[in-house]
């Protein structure tokens, strides 16, 4: 896997392989020193054009636990505010030869576009309202850890599907894993054409009891200003997941950050059915697995991290130790 741009880059075996690898990293998180040298000497650049705390910090943590060097680039306070184009910014940063760039932008397809401008492995951390593949992977990982298999699982994704990159990646990823997905929300926020993803579309929560898993999406206040819903109050009355709506055997998920009292009632957030904190924990593990796959297992870093000065003949050289599997590395698994 050279890049991770869309959840559709992965077939079922690919998703399972990533989940298995994430599971193998779980043990690292329980060590007193939460670090393995798998990506030592590699540089991971976090390129974030949108504010993000959890995704960015979880990528940062993932990279650091694999001993990679991390550089964070946020568009605010940078040359982007002086009008630098995405291409110029990427090429400028790519001149420092990061091995991987984790990209979050407000524009669909931007991460794919960036692959044309750099040799670095690109991981899509959200491109506009298009996709957020690592979120889907961590959600699948969370469900798999809890339930074993997703085959035949009935998942309802509830809320602002229209503006949700999480929903698009999740619906596709869950279906790849054998789950049946229904999306539900107000008609203004659930475009009818979303059925092209293969999911069912509902406008009420009448049949919510069919669900094994209820996945609530974040409802942004600005949607009300844009008149997608008449009021947050009415939205909550129709679509809020509360202990009244959530059945005893149903699991609850949410990509965060939660608007308590809007899409979720406070009691269910903290309730025993909530997997929300499991999702956060899974985030680091899955992102470790993704970074590991694009960098260590045959991915194409651009140059040896401590190699000689730049030269065109060196640009495509393989890094020291590229392709070596840290799981067969005695350094990683001391006897």
């Amino acid at each position: 896997m050279k890049h991770l741009l869309s959840i559709e880059d992965l077939d079922r075996a690919g998703i399972e392989r990533l989940c298995d690898r994430a599971a193998s990293f779980a043990e690292v998180a329980d060590r007193p020193i939460k670090k393995v040298p798998a990506l030592r000497g590699r540089t991971v650049l976090n390129l974030f054009y949108e504010s993000s705390t959890r995704t960015r910090s979880s990528f940062e943590l993932a990279a650091k636990r694999l001993s990679a060097d991390v550089v964070n680039f946020a568009a605010s306070g940078s040359s982007v505010e002086k009008g630098e184009s995405l291409r110029d910014t990427v090429q400028t940063l790519a001149a420092h030869r990061p091995h991987a760039i984790v990209v979050r932008t407000p524009w669909a397809g931007a991460s794919k576009l960036i692959t044309q401008w750099t040799d670095a492995a690109i991981v899509n951390a959200g491109d506009g309202q298009h996709e957020h593949p690592t979120q889907a992977l961590l959600d699948i990982y969370t469900l798999r850890s809890r339930l074993g298999s997703l085959d035949g699982l009935n998942v309802w994704v509830v809320g602002d599907v229209r503006h949700s990159r999480v929903a698009r990646s999740l619906v596709l990823g869950l279906q790849t894993m054998g789950a049946k997905v229904t999306v539900a929300g107000p008609p203004t926020l659930v475009p009818a054409e979303i059925a092209v993803l293969g999911c069912e579309v509902r406008y009420t929560l009448e049949d919510l009891p069919q669900a094994d898993v209820v996945y609530a999406l974040r409802m942004q206040n600005e949607r009300m200003k844009q008149a997608y819903v008449p009021s947050i109050r009415e939205y909550a009355a129709e679509y809020q997941i509360s202990s009244r709506r959530l059945g005893a055997r149903q699991l609850l998920m949410h990509p965060g950050p939660v608007n308590r009292g809007v899409e979720l009632a406070g009691d269910v957030v903290d309730g025993p059915q909530s997997l929300i904190l499991d999702q956060v924990r899974a985030g680091v593990l899955v992102r470790m697995a993704v970074l590991y796959e694009v960098l260590a297992s045959g991915g194409g870093p651009t140059a040896p991290p401590d190699g000689p000065p730049d030269g065109p003949e060196r640009r495509r050289r393989r890094p020291h130790g590229g392709g070596r599997d840290p799981f067969n590395n005695p350094e990683l698994h001391p006897a």
Binding site: S85, L86, R87, T105, P106, W107, A108, G109, A110, K112, L113, D127, G128, Q129, H130, E131, H163, S164, R165, R168, P191, E193, I194, V196, L197
Partner: protein
């Protein structure tokens, strides 16, 4: 007394042609000609049309062997963006008209959404003056309907007409206020000139970057619903009928718009329509890879829209194929799709695209396509090019069998944002004679001195 709305070309090397086109297949659908002939042009005027091989070449006349080649009346594009003044880094009057000549065009009509907007007679006058020195082919200029394209105050339409405005348009933007458009149509009784409309209801289209549909839903890109266009076509066709005005609907892109145009015509309203090569040849599926060359306004539609446009071209509901040639600099298009500006170039590929995609597969007759490529002239009150003795030569010579790849040898246009870039088509323009002068000669098509 109005000026001639077409500015005669005056670029370097614009001289009256003396050329004999030998054994060319002349196809002029409006003159009813469809047969091989010799065509002699002397001092820029069609002097003789004779039996193939029957015309003797006078001394000093270049003889062009035309066996197997087609000669059409030169095309007229009622809708191009030459980006002058203000955005000459995208296109200028020389490169834009050079690009047009390379596509077989003998006249183009430029849109006024420049920077500043062409909304005063002084600006129009200076543009016409510039064109008379730089253009390779004759150019007409439209003026804005409203000041600054703001949609609120009418321009001095009468003075603009007297200063040579072909007609009026706020192209790039709709005239959303029906009352304002109504007054413009009323004013048209005084000043004449067609009013050309970019139809879009911004309350439905705002924020959209592509056609709303299955592809936009998958990509998570805000879509423009087709009714954003068709509701405005229906509204304005009703205005045209009520005020007995003359309106032209630009770049139609959906079934309902074609239906609305057809219905308005059936009621006798003076309305006309155009379709672009990209809307006739491509659908929103082409946007799936988020290639910014596929981003234009109106956006590419569904397959049924494409079929309706083809049907409209076939039955004459749509009188003209217009490119909406919209050049943008490379760095402007090398952007994420949602950020990139809308528009595709089209002058150099228009004939080849439509010929390869619609004529060769047998969907439309060649004569219909040629008719629609010259059809923009009458809509803009310009003379329609014709292959007839005594006329100034407005001709394009085409090799229908010649295959070529769009953009492979670069473009005459300053910009390369062509939605057909990289596509291999049949039908190559070899030579264009515009207003009596050789305006374009394909690189491999050498001078054949007599």
């Amino acid at each position: 007394m109005s000026l001639n709305p077409l500015v005669r070309a005056g670029g370097p090397g614009i001289d009256d042609a003396d050329v004999l086109l030998r054994r060319v297949h002349v196809l002029d659908p409006r003159a009813g000609v469809d047969a091989p002939h010799d065509v002699l042009v002397r001092a820029g005027v069609i002097a003789e049309i004779g039996e193939p091989g029957g015309v003797t070449a006078p001394a000093g006349v270049e003889e062009v062997p035309g066996e197997g080649l087609h000669l059409f009346p030169g095309f007229v594009d009622p809708h191009v963006h030459l980006r002058t003044p203000g955005q000459e880094y995208k296109e200028d009057l020389e490169t834009g008209t050079r690009s047009a000549a390379a596509g077989g065009y003998v006249a183009v009509v430029a849109m006024p959404n420049t920077s500043p907007v062409v909304d005063s007679s002084s600006l129009l006058g200076s543009l016409r003056d510039l064109a008379s020195r730089l253009a390779r082919i004759p150019v007409g200029f439209t003026a804005a309907i409203t000041l600054g394209l703001e949609g609120t105050h009418l321009t001095e339409m009468n003075e603009l007409r007297q200063a040579g405005a072909v007609g009026f348009t706020d192209d790039g933007r709709p005239v959303t206020d029906a009352g304002v458009l109504r007054k413009a149509i009323q004013y048209q009784r005084l000043c004449g000139g067609v009013i050309a409309l970019h139809e879009e209801d911004p309350s439905l289209s705002a924020g959209g970057a592509m056609r709303e549909g299955s592809v936009s839903a998958r990509l998570g890109i805000a879509g423009v619903p087709w009714l954003s266009e068709s509701t405005m076509v229906a509204r304005d066709a009703a205005l045209a009928g009520y005020e007995d005005g003359r309106l032209h609907f630009q770049h139609l892109s959906c079934v309902a718009s074609v239906d609305a145009l057809r219905a308005a015509k059936a009621q006798g309203f003076k309305v006309s329509g155009e379709a672009s090569p990209h809307h006739l040849c491509l659908t929103h599926e082409a946007v799936r890879d988020l290639d910014t060359s596929m981003k234009m306004n109106p956006p590419l539609g569904f397959e049924e829209d494409r079929q309706a446009l083809i049907e409209g071209v076939r039955d004459g509901t749509i009188e003209t194929i217009a490119t909406d040639h919209a050049p943008h600099a490379r760095d402007e298009k090398e952007m994420p799709f949602e950020q990139a500006p809308m528009g595709t170039t089209g002058l150099e590929s228009a004939f080849a695209a439509v010929y390869s995609e619609l004529v060769r597969p047998g969907i439309l007759p060649l004569s219909t396509v040629v008719d629609r490529l010259i059809g923009g002239a009458a809509l803009m009150d310009l003379p329609t090019p014709t292959v007839a003795v005594g006329e100034r030569a407005n001709l394009c010579l085409v090799d229908l069998e010649r295959e070529w790849t769009v953009g492979a040898d670069g473009y005459e246009s300053k910009s390369g944002n062509c939605c057909f870039d990289g596509r291999t088509f049949h039908g190559r323009v070899l030579m264009t004679v515009a207003d009596g002068a050789v305006a374009y000669r394909e690189r491999s098509f050498a001078v054949h001195a007599a």
